[in-house]
Symmetry: C2
Subunit: 373 residues, 2 copies
């Protein structure tokens, strides 16, 4: 993309490519991140059921995501700021990306009213009237102390009218300019968000507008909002590779192991999703040979580790029979053990993908994965 200058002191470097798939290093003030990377979701300053030590040692996460909308409502960014910022609050000294609150304002809150200035809405928690604007979103994310800050965008529902889509894109493009101006935290990186739904032409238009701001990274928003995933893959295939080569490409809110593999194949570098952690809590656990539902009777006396190729604390120390017992008895330990494993599975999937790309057998690896997911 000629609109996006190659920056000599870039925050991102591509290390290797195979087809459209690529590996890279994303540098932040709190450490470097090997890509492709999956970011566990710590909505309210906690990845449900696991501690920050678990995230570092057991999940082996290099970056996590937290949520501007939720943290603004509870406990409030001022409190977190006064306590030394989000990293200190949750004892996670490594990179944190915060989303802008845009997605939650549209999906969770009530009575939202969009003007050119911003969005008026009522908190899903207590009905309090709130107002988010690009400036307000930047202010909250800076107060939290995020390393990667997301632009405040308008995420249209699926399906939506042409008019709705046009308005969402227009506001998203106007607002990214305001975000850039308002994001004054020197050591944080602002990522722009591209909208445009499932229309490749609109996506490329949005891409051109957003990338004209020459930001440290770009995201695709508005996917995984209910559309058939095959349609997303198709658009991704035409759009991801048009995003600047020298900047990280982040696909927001995606997804399943299959989605990740398919998206890496199209040139995506970064992911976040509640999919592995939410599935863990519902007894769906990932193994090298596909997912299993641990509550099934077949695991009643199964002495094997959940995944015999995994060395997370869950697989090293506990049997499928014990995990099934914990789940059926609603023992709180289940959430931790299951979440650690599923998130470690995702970390491992990303690590194996990086190695496959670097060592030249990505296509074979991809096919092997897709046979099970």
């Amino acid at each position: 993309m000629s609109e996006c200058n190659i920056n000599e002191t870039s925050n991102f470097r591509v290390l290797s490519t195979q087809g459209k798939a690529r590996t890279g290093i994303l540098t932040t003030r709190r450490g470097s991140i090997a890509t492709p990377v999956f970011m566990p979701v710590g909505t309210k300053a906690s990845v449900k059921g696991v501690s920050s030590e678990d995230l570092r040692d057991e999940v082996q996460a290099s970056i996590i995501l937290a949520n501007t909308y939720h943290l603004n409502i509870r406990p409030g960014e001022e409190i977190i700021h006064n306590l030394g910022g989000l990293h200190k609050f949750m004892n996670w000294p490594y990179p944190i990306l915060t989303d802008s609150g845009g997605f939650q304002v549209f999906s969770l809150s009530k009575l939202n009213k969009i003007t050119d200035d911003g969005v008026k809405f009522r908190s899903h928690l207590d009905g309090d009237e709130c107002f988010f604007s690009p400036e307000k979103s930047m202010e909250i994310q800076m107060a939290l102390g995020a390393d990667i800050i997301m632009a405040f965008d308008v995420c249209p529902p699926y399906p939506c009218s042409d008019k709705e889509m046009q308005r969402a894109m227009k506001l998203t493009h106007d607002w990214v300019v305001r975000c850039k101006k308002a994001m004054t935290a020197k050591n944080s990186q602002l990522f722009g968000i591209i909208q445009g739904g499932l229309d490749t032409k609109l996506r490329l238009q949005s891409l051109e507008k957003v990338c004209a701001e020459d930001l440290p990274g770009y995201a695709l928003g508005g996917f995984s909002v209910g559309e058939p995933m095959e349609l997303m893959y198709k658009v991704l295939d035409e759009v991801a590779c048009q995003m600047p080569d020298n900047k990280p490409r982040y696909l927001m809110g995606v997804g399943s192991p299959k989605d990740l593999i398919q998206s890496i194949d199209k040139g995506i570098d970064m992911f976040d999703c509640v999919y592995p952690s939410r599935n863990a809590r519902n007894a769906t656990l990932f193994t090298q040979k596909g997912k299993i539902n641990i509550k099934r009777a077949e695991f009643k006396q199964d002495e094997k580790a959940l995944d015999q190729t995994c060395d997370c604390i869950t697989c090293k120390n506990y049997t499928r029979a014990y995990l099934r017992h914990l789940y059926l008895q609603k023992e709180p330990l289940f959430v931790r053990l299951a979440t650690i494993h599923n998130l470690r599975f995702y970390s491992n999937l990303m690590k194996k993908s990086r190695i496959a790309i670097e060592e030249g057998y990505w296509k074979k690896f991809k096919e092997e994965c897709l046979a099970f997911f």
Copy 2:
């Protein structure tokens, strides 16, 4: 007690005494236990919210308790036995004591009918008809592979009629003889249970009967069932010291920090209770200066560790403000962090008690503790 022979190869040795308080070493096939000791309660083969690694490394527990009644119902002792026993099932290679199911049969189940042979009852879970006898309780506990096995007793409610108490004692005394006969696991230890309510004379009668069986340890059952604790302290003061000197003395289902200190003072060596773990889940946390309710507004911006003198993972890594946030947001991480701390507090309380007794300042230590609890 002349009825109880001093055994040359005893499982228990008193190391030091101060007044009636004492320290000792209880030896089991899976390791030695310094007493006084508190046993965290792992009702259904899991101490709620914490892993076996947490119990070893963070709680620093030397022995835990599991529940015959619950494990018989789910998943069933045959399954656990087939999987290599309870220790392997929950990955806890250290000592386990199982209670006999007696207490739960009377407190949880429905429609129980007591005969000389045993107790017929309906499971609290699905109403299935079950039957526990002394022999059945031994069979289950042996199948689980417990290191310390409790005799099957009748635990009368508080208050109860003289007739009820007499019958409970009679059955308890008859059944301990049958338990001794049925408990054929060579490397496990059978502890007898003394009943008798709040009547010192009855307690001493029961003590004489049960201790006549010359067992490796004795417990006081039927306390902490709703009576004023001061009444328990009074009976304990007259009864605990009459229990065999050379055998461990276990006070079942007790209690608060105050209860533990008062009971150690009267000569008790072993405790179990859900009090610290249940309180943790309800936001009541223990510190050197008494208990605090972490949900209170005063902790909103409190950057201090929960207890500045504690080095558990919770106190080392997280602030009161973060714990409060996790609790209010119903984050599952709260249960683990809170439980680890409260159980570690109990471990530390027992350790400090042992040191105080050994080094001769027990009375001073006791008074200091009681000032806060």
